[in-house]
Amino acid sequence: MNEIIEALTKAVSDACRRHPSVPTGPGGPGEGPAWNAELWSALDDIGVLLLPVPEDRGGAGGDLATTVGVLEVLGAESAAVPFGENALLAGWLLSECGAEIPGGVMTAAVAGAELGISRAGDDLVLDGRIARVPWGRCADHLVVLAGRNVMLLHPGQYEIHHGANLAGEPRDDVVFETASIGDAQIRPLRDDSPVDDESFAARTALVRAALMAGAARRAFELSTAYASERQQFGRSINRFQTVQQYLAAMAGEVLLCKVSAEAAAAALDRDAEHGGSAATAAMVAVSAAASTVARTAHQVHGAIGFTEEHSLRSSTTRIWSWRDEGGGAGTRAAQLGARVVGTGADGLWPSLTV
């Protein structure tokens, strides 16, 4: 880890400690967690909200490797802020259009099949919905990728139907009823922009992989701590070889998560096309590894970890949500597998060393 990333992640980590994200119930609709406005403002003070956005577009000009370092911390802290959506997705889409990036909280989505888009004069008219938009209700701006256009939408133009993931993070349906979108809100992508649905999915995968890497690390830390405190048969349970083997196996998966997420970020920094495959591979690998960590962490914790009062659930319910979000691990694995079949036997190994 270089010194810049180290200093930045420490600052973010300190901010998370000062402004902890309160765990909430495993909410159904309407029971989302407190949106952590204090943490958001602290992150703004640190200057990371648009970390990977180019400086000439108002960002900090950081690379994805650095951004992933921040995401890992936020994942570990179960931070209730849409940092990935704001910095890696919405900020990216707008900067790829050369558009001004507005102040306030942004989230991002792809238009998708449930959103009807028609033209009325110079305006566009939106009907239908975009399902399960992360942090939709908290956003001052919703940035939507629609083909070669990017739309900058505002809360007055849509309704929010509350939804939540297993951790209670907002995953809201955004509903449009003949919403008229003026020319000023529509920006075409630069002609040479690599942005498309696939690259959006790759970045989403990177965000989820990095967050899961952080959450898996926290679940592991909680497990080692608990195993050293919990006494049974007259000694702490980490004196038992079975528990030790569990902890070591978790450590391996946690390391795999970290290296995968960071390697994918570096690959995307280097080359958007091959980096996309790396991000997909990382997301699939991290999903499986983090799932193993979550399962083992609960086994180590026993019944207490299965309760609302214990903070382990903040990490594990996030892993169980994030692995299936924005194009879940199963879908992405199938994409990877289809690509491997397409590449053929002699292309298998070369595709791994790109």
């Binding site: 070591a248 795999l256 570096a266 997301m283 694995a333 289809a338």
Partner: protein, 393 residues
């Protein structure tokens, strides 16, 4: 072995960053691929599974030596190419992925030469390293004994002080390639055991063959002869063939482990089987579960990134023993799970004697699979190392 960073790496197992290979190594990769393509097309090499144990081919090793692809981490003064751990990583992963016969030089190139560089005398380095780098001298490792497996500090092979050296008596076992090797680095006890079990152990270089060293084959369950039992019957080892300091054997041996445990051979032993399965799937038009294949591929991608990251630490002169243990634990499990994934995808019966590549490789992989998670320290022992390092025991 830079002291402070090694300590830092050991304290925090998460202190492992991904490595991007420099562009010039891609040129090296292309050269190795072209060479291997030629070797396979010409029929000099037939791809097999687990070739770093089973593929003993001195002529192939010499051809690698001629190209400067052995001893890549050794300084030029000892016949190496001083190309570094990452360059070596690229060459070795290409050789393994192709299923090329690398067993003859594997131990010498990876481990024995590195130990000679770290602890050997000038005379020892000059005597062995240039020949290792040319693929002319092969080594075996003498660690396990009939009563000493995972508990390595319990070795009982004794070295008794005699005029001008040590007289050795005892038995080593599971010694891969000792029947072909030109030398063996053995860990022996040169002082009576004390409370400190790690004290009094010494590494010695035993040159082979030697009339006082009996090498008996121990056949694998396939009937193949790779393992040996090696009996020292008052074998004389001159002082000039003691490696490093008498009594410092334990710390010397454990410092090799980062090298021994993290390499691509802990991930790729069965990869040629997957490649062959993909060929079979394409030719037969078999439908496979893309998700299952994708999961396997993603895990492989991730493990390779980890192994590469450890090579990056080695390149910096660090000893990433804990992350190396993790790579070996996860990587060798992957080598086995690859077999099961292939079995799910293709309807082929394993057949050791088959003229077709896929049934033969499936047989090789299945029958060699018990070794993956045993050799180089059982995975349970590795997890013990990890547990200690994460401060939870």
């Amino acid at each position: 072995m830079s002291g402070p960073s090694a300590v830092r790496a050991a304290k925090n197992f998460l202190d492992l960053d991904p490595v991007e290979l420099p562009a010039e190594l891609e040129e090296l990769r292309r050269e190795v691929r072209a060479f291997l393509h030629d070797e396979i097309e010409s029929g000099r090499v037939t791809p097999h599974v687990d070739q770093w144990l089973a593929g003993w081919d001195p002529a192939f090793s010499r051809r690698l030596g001629e190209r400067g692809w052995l001893g890549m981490t050794y300084p030029r003064q000892y016949g190496g190419s001083d190309a570094g751990a990452l360059a070596r990583f690229v060459v070795t992963e290409e050789l393994l992925a192709a299923g090329a016969p690398v067993a003859a030089h594997w131990i010498a190139d990876r481990q024995s030469g590195q130990a000679l560089l770290n602890f050997g005398t000038e005379e020892q380095r000059e005597a062995f390293l240039p020949r290792i780098a040319r693929g002319e001298v092969f080594f075996a490792i003498g660690m396990s004994e009939p009563d000493t497996g995972s508990d390595l500090a319990s070795v009982r092979t004794r070295g008794t002080r005699v005029d001008g050296g040590w007289q050795i008596r005892g038995t080593k076992i599971w010694t891969s390639g000792a029947h072909h090797a030109d030398a063996m680095i053995a860990l022996i006890r040169t002082e009576a055991p004390t409370e400190n079990r790690h004290a009094g152990l010494t590494q010695v270089i035993v040159e082979l063959p030697d009339p006082t060293v009996e090498v008996r084959g121990v056949r694998l369950l396939t009937g193949e002869h790779h393992f040996n039992e090696v009996v020292f019957k008052d074998t004389f080892v001159p002082d000039a063939r003691v490696l490093g300091k008498p009594g410092a054997g334990w710390s010397q041996v454990t410092s090799e482990l980062g090298n021994e445990r993290s390499g691509p051979e802990r991930i790729l032993s069965t990869l040629p089987l997957l490649v062959e399965a993909m060929r079979w799937i394409a030719e037969s038009g078999t439908q496979v579960s893309p998700a299952r294949l994708g999961e396997l591929y993603a895990r492989l991608w991730a493990l390779r990134q980890m192994s590469l990251a450890v090579a990056g630490r080695l390149q910096l002169g660090e000893d990433p023993a804990v992350s190396a243990s993790i790579v070996k634990d996860l990587g060798t499990q992957f080598e086995g799970s690859l077999i099961d994934a292939v079995r799910e995808m293709v309807d082929v019966e394993p057949d050791y004697a088959s003229a077709h590549a896929l049934p033969r490789m499936l047989a090789e992989a299945v029958l060699h699979s018990p070794g993956f998670t045993l050799r180089g320290g059982t995975n349970e022992i590795l997890r013990g190392i990890v547990t200690k390092a994460v401060g939870s025991a």
